[in-house]
Each structure stands twice: as C-alpha cells, then as structure tokens.
Amino acid sequence: MDPTEKMSRQLSYAKAILEATDQAMGLSNDVIVLGQLVDTQSGIFGTTTGLVNKYGAHRVMDFPVSENLMTATAMGAALTGLRPIIAHQRLDFMIYSLDAIANWLALWRFKSNGESAMPVTIRTIVGKGWGQGPQHSKSLHAWFAHLPGLRVAVPATAYDAKGLLLESIFSQTPAIFVEGRGLYSMLDDVPEEPYRVRFGQAVVRRSGADVTVVAIGNLVPVALKAAAVLEKDGIDVEIVDPRTLNPLDRKTLCDSTFKTRRLVVADPAWHSFGAATEIITTVVENLGDKLKAKPVRVTLPDSHTPMSMSLEPEYYVDESDVIAAVKQTLA
C-alpha cells in the first residue's frame, strides 16, 4: 500500500479513543472498562459507545456514583491480572478517588519493592467553555504528574490519543489520561492498526528557529495557530508538544530551546506550581545562561473558572495570548 494512502484515514479524537479501547479489548480479554454510563449510547462523549454490545456487560461496566471505590476496584482487579480502564465524565468527580490514587495506586509498585504491578488506566476529561464553571473544568494534570509512580498523558491529537491509550493499557505502570473536551471533534490522520506512542517522548509539531513554544493539551492547536500568525510577521516559532508530563521528555524541550534560545510555555492550567513552572525550571537549570530572553508562561489565572460567557474569554487562553508571549521574548 502507498504510505500516503495508508495515512489518509482521518478520525476524531473521540473516535480514536473509542478505536483504541475497542482494539485493546479485542487484543486481550484482560481489558475491561469501568465508569459511570460507559454502557450507554452516549458513551462518555462517544468514546465508549457500542463497546457493551460488542464485548458484554461483564467487560463494559457501569459503576455506582462511587469514584473512590471505582478506582480501588480497578486496582484490585489489576492485581488479579486484568487491565482495567476507568473513565470519568469530568476530572472534578475523580477527586473523590484521590485516596485510592495517592495513597495506594501511585505507591503500589514502590511499596511492594517492584514485585506487584497495577496496570490501571484512568481516563479523565477537562470540561471547558459553555459555562462549565468551577466544578467541571479543573485542569489538574500537574497534581498527578507530581506523584511518583504515576504516568500522566496529555494527548493533543487523535493520533496521540490512540497510541498513548494503547500504550497505557498494555504497560505495567498506572497512567492518568487527561483529555480535553474541546479536542474531541478535532481530526487527525489515525492509522487503523493498533500502534503505540511511548510515554516520555515529546514531538516537535512545527519546526522554527526563533522561539520555542512548549504547548500542552488543548493549547497545542492554539499555539499552532498563533505560530501561523507570527509567521506572517516573520517570526519563526517552534512548537513542542510534550505529550506526556510524567515522564517528561526534558531533553527534547531543552534541545529545542537551546536552538532558539527563547522559551514560552502554554499550559491550560493555573499559573502557579504547575507544569509550566516545571518546564521552565528544567530549561533554566540546563541552559539558563544561554537564554536570550526571560521565559514566559501562558496559563490560566490563579483563579477558579467563571461560568459567565462574558468572563470565560477573559479567563481562557487564546492565540493572542501566545502571540503576545512570543513577542515578549523578542522585545
């Protein structure tokens, strides 16, 4: 087959997640799905739709509104050799399961001295826009990336969503898979076969010489659009997507910044103590005296999310914020 033809199939981010789950369940009977309403037609924004018909209710299980127990149940099932995927309708609900995650899941391998694994994949969704407000929009990837023993994926494209999800399901270390609701309809070329995208491998989405913009999750498409605008002004931006925050591909981030000597980090999360902070620290520790400008963070304010449609645009980051930050590094 002509490689270009092979690459021609486009899938949405939501459909890519569904396909990865479907293929994983087909590849191994050990893969099960737990989550509120995963067995319904709406299937968590279409990411689990139809799986119950294909694989049965014993593999695609609705769960009581008990997030903490759901996570622990997935963990116990993993101890018996299963590979559970949990899906949460929003990250905010998942906070009920912090005990299971922080006191048990993250440290299970450590405290068993490496003898016991818990291959659990936790899918969670960050709502954004249309009044999601302070309890449907929290973007807490940095919380989870802070915990030793967990891996955190922040896929921005359908291709990465499928590959990272398959990799996570069939790996030995638990992973939190943070999805942006705004990304679900976005299309990408997605190979049909089951493939892997490894954790800890950033990708350069756009090559450029003047400024490195590290963009996370739903700010990847925003940063790419900003780069297209800046190109017209003669500013050549390199966009790096870390794809996973833990492990973080520090080398690729540093290599890119070493080339451009200027760094902007666009992180769809609160300003302080976040992933942007970690990335800038990493770069400054490695090449502080080689930078030509102070690094800049493009983040949400240190505030909870407002509901009103008049405040949402003020609160969220858009292309103009990235453009301004890039120009600041060149001023």
Binding site: L82, P84, N103, S112, E115
Partner: protein
C-alpha cells in the same frame, strides 16, 4: 451473651467455647497457631525499644489471635487477603513467611518489601497478601480482586480484614453498596476491638450495629464472640465455602480486644479510654486460655505437648530474629526504577509503531455544548 462492647465487660466469663464440628486435630492446630502469633508479637514487643532496631510504627495484635488463626486454616494460597495497619495477624493468616516480616520491620533488604514498607504497609505478593495504613483503602481494593475472580469464573475468595474504625469511612459503605449489588465473592472480616486509636465506636457511630446496617445493602452478616477460635473457625469456614460457591458477599464481625496500646509497646493508658474492668474482662477471656482449657478438659493437650510447642515456637522466633538482624540493609537508591516499571513486554508484543499524522492546525476546537 449479648455481643456489644457496652455490656460485654460486665458479662460473666465466656463459657460457650465448644470443639464440636471441628475437623480432627483442628482444635490443637488453632491453639498452636494462636500461640505462635502471641509469642511472636510478645517477642517483637519486648525487643522493640531496648534495641531500637525496629524503626517503624507497629500495631501489635496481642489479644486478637483467634480470627487470624482460624483464617490461616481456611484460606487457599490463591485467595487474596487484604489487611489494615494492624497487619501481623493477617500476614500470618495468609501463610506469608514470618522471617520476611521480621526482616521487613528491621528495615533489611531481605524483608518482604526490602525495607520499603514496614509493619503497617507490608505486602507479600507471592502469597497474595497486601496491607496498608489508610483505613478502608485496602477494603475497597479487595473488592476489585473479588471482581477479578468472578470475571475469571474462579472460586477464589478475597478476604478483607480490618477494624470497626474503618466502618467510619465512606469507602467502606461504597464497598457494601457495590458488593451487595454485585454479589461478589468477598469476605469482610471486622475485628471489632471497640476503639479507633482511643476513640470509642459509640463516640463515632450512633449504634454498634454494623451487621444490621450492612444487611440492608444485601451483604450477609454474622456477629460472633471473636475470642472463641473454634467458633471463628466454624463461622468463617461456612462463609468461605458459600463464597466459593458464588454465594457472596459476606461480613463477619468478631468482637475482640487489643491488649496493648494502639501502636508500639508504650502504655497509652494516660488517655483513660479503657476501664480496668474492661481490660480485666478481656484478659480473663484470652482466646488462647479459653481454647487451652477446653483442650485440656478434652485431654487433647498435655503439659509436655505444650512445652514442646513452646520450644518449637521459641526456636522459630529466635531464628527469625537471627535472620533479620543478620541481613544487610538495602542500598538501592535507583529511585526511578523503584517507582516505575519502564519495560512493557505486553505492549512490545501487541503494538506496532506507525508514523504520526499531520495534524491540521487550522481546524476549530469542538463546538462545545452545555454538557
């Protein structure tokens, strides 16, 4: 005898221990197991401070030997057992090697977890034994093991042991709700020793009627006098058998008492949370003494046999100390490897590598709706 801590300590001494219905030789085995656990805990307790070599919190289980000893005779190697912080009895019940328990709490490389976990977080994966100090966390993980057993149509059983303190936690009730609805093969064993640290159950709960409450969730529940090892054996044996036949879940609440402080060998009596009358009742109803009397009445135990048992146990304990103290300390400082498994052989086998897409930067974000 009314099974409530409100009245038990005012009751006459327990006189209902019966060897009826026990398989041949089981009573003496239960006695021996209780004695082993008691002597092991006494030895660790005595050695804890003088040497200062066990530098982790230890929640001793002296006085609570009956249930673990009964379980030790009922669990299969392929069953899974989960415990709270007072872990030694359950570790023992699952048949995990005691010398690795000793070495673990001495922080040695030969410990069950190479000195990473200590007493309250110890696990022994090969024995399918797991514990942890945050109440009810292990209760809910046990639920998942039971789900896994049912998924595989095996007749393995998940056993979750904890105290009445864990029933304050929401996770416990989530587990009742889910396992009662799903009818999972799980045995919840509550050793009700009345106090969460120093706090009386009735300071924390309106009534000490856990069994009544869990029945409303569809969980079969039985309440027993937890210092009667024969009764514990018969009850747990029946329940585990029903679970193996798919008739779950089940909860057994065993009323018992810890003789020592909540943690460590120090006396926590300054907190005045237990009365001398209550302490006396439970020491008078020592699970080992209750069984020993019945064994002697039935001519199943002689002085010579007990002395021989004590000698064997003492030798085993001495050997465990020798193993622990003679073992090296861990030197491993590869922190990442301790926390992450980077190899993923299954992904290597099942997944290929495909070239990435060419993401179109000009497409719009999802048109967001309200839900």
């Amino acid at each position: 005898m009314e099974l409530s801590h409100k009245t038990l300590s005012k009751s006459p001494r327990y006189a209902e221990l019966s060897l009826d219905g026990l398989p041949e030789g089981k009573a003496i085995t239960l006695f021996r197991q209780m004695l082993r656990l008691r002597r092991t805990e006494e030895a660790l307790l005595a050695e804890y401070h003088p040497a200062e070599e066990m530098r982790c919190p230890i929640h001793f289980c002296i006085g609570q030997e009956a249930v673990p000893s009964a379980l030790s005779q009922l669990v299969r190697p392929d069953d899974y057992m989960f415990s709270h912080h007072r872990s030694h009895g359950y570790y023992f019940a699952k048949g995990a090697p005691l010398r690795e328990l000793f070495a673990e709490i001495y922080g040695r490389a030969t410990g069950a977890n190479a000195g990473k976990a200590g007493s309250q977080d110890i696990s022994h994966s090969k024995s399918h034994f797991y514990s942890g100090a945050i109440l009810a966390g292990a209760v809910s993980i046990a639920v998942g093991a039971a789900l896994g057993f049912r998924y595989r149509k095996s007749n393995q059983v998940a056993i979750s042991g904890f105290g009445e303190g864990a029933t304050d936690e929401g996770a416990f009730w989530e587990a009742m709700n889910y396992t009662g609805k799903q009818k999972l093969p799980i045995l919840f064993v509550i050793e009700n020793n009345r106090y969460a640290t120093f706090s009386d159950q009735l300071k924390r709960q309106d009534s000490d009627n856990i069994t009544e409450r869990v029945r409303t969730f569809g969980v079969r529940a039985t309440k027993i006098f937890g210092n009667d090892a024969a009764l514990a054996f018969r009850t747990l044996s029946g329940e585990i058998e029903r679970l193996r036949q798919g008739d779950g879940p089940s909860l057994v609440e065993a009323y018992t008492f810890r003789w020592n402080s909540h943690v460590g060998p120090e006396d926590d009596g300054a907190n005045a949370y237990r009365t001398p009358e209550e302490m006396k009742f439970w020491k008078d109803n020592c699970p080992i003494s209750l069984m020993e009397e019945r064994l002697r009445e039935s001519s199943l135990l002689t002085d010579a046999a007990k002395a021989s048992m004590e000698a064997d146990i003492a030798a085993e304990i001495a050997e465990n100390f020798k193993f622990a103290k003679g073992s090296p300390f861990p030197k491993d400082t590869e922190w990442r490897r301790m926390n992450y498994e980077d190899a993923s052989p299954l992904a290597d086998k099942l997944l290929g590598v495909s070239a990435g897409g060419t993401f179109d930067q000009n497409q719009a974000e999802a048109k967001l709706g309200p839900y």
